[in-house]
Symmetry: C2
Amino acid sequence: MGDHVSGKGLKRADLARRTGCNLETIRYYEKIGMMPDPPRTASGYRVYDVTHVGRLRFILRGRELGFSIEELRGLLQLVDRGTQTCAEVKALTEQHLADVRAKIADLKRIEKVLAATAAQCSGKQVPECPVLEALAS
Amino acid sequence: MGDHVSGKGLKRADLARRTGCNLETIRYYEKIGMMPDPPRTASGYRVYDVTHVGRLRFILRGRELGFSIEELRGLLQLVDRGTQTCAEVKALTEQHLADVRAKIADLKRIEKVLAATAAQCSGKQVPECPVLEALAS
DNA sequence: CCTTGAGTCTGTAGTTACTACAGACCCTAT
DNA sequence: ATAGGGTCTGTAGTAACTACAGACTCAAGG
């Protein structure tokens, strides 16, 4: 049995393949309460269905967009309770966007210093180096 | 006794204050071999001098520039052996610069998606939200 | 001299978000 | 019946710190 045979009753590997998620990560998300505890077969195997696929995709997309697990937990709690409003979700998104922009600014600052310093290097087989001077100064 | 009294024989807190480094981080860097094991007083207190200040500043500046511990370990090994050349250091720096640029590109991609999606939000007290749709799609 | 408070010592646990085992089951196909 | 996969559990490892508990040491005040 598997994914393509019956259309329901996905095993863990099936869910992983459908979502592109790592096999172990699924168990991890369950453990930390991001994914619900799925029903089990008599012998203890997890059984998933399309709702699990949807939820896992939600989490994975959120992670791709740089949301932390805690941020996603907040989002999912709103959704799970059915109490979310566009205003709330937008506020969380914009907070996250601000964090992303701060990280970009930080990395750009770093990039400038690195590029400027490396540009001063002779690149020769000599021990003295502007990069080391910049670090040791 | 302390930092300002004798000019030598810094204790751990003195080194921390002079470099802005967290107290515990100093011990951590020692443990992972980034800082040398310092001499000790008879009762076991670590005793630092200016060479330790220089080395710790080197590490901290490198970290500020986003070098990983392993990257800095490579740099420091060259310096410790006195075998570094500007060419080698420049190569390591440019590799790191490429990594930084890749991270910036990644974050910019994320920023675009977040900004575009959030811009579609009505921001009203309604349950439907473009952000949730983007995640659940 | 003794106490008190601050500093230091050690080892260990917590953080984030996974990833990768080991050793025991289970299930299916030959 | 058995061989091979897949699955189960719990645990340890990753990066780079940070924070504690409990014991010890040290200098200054009374």
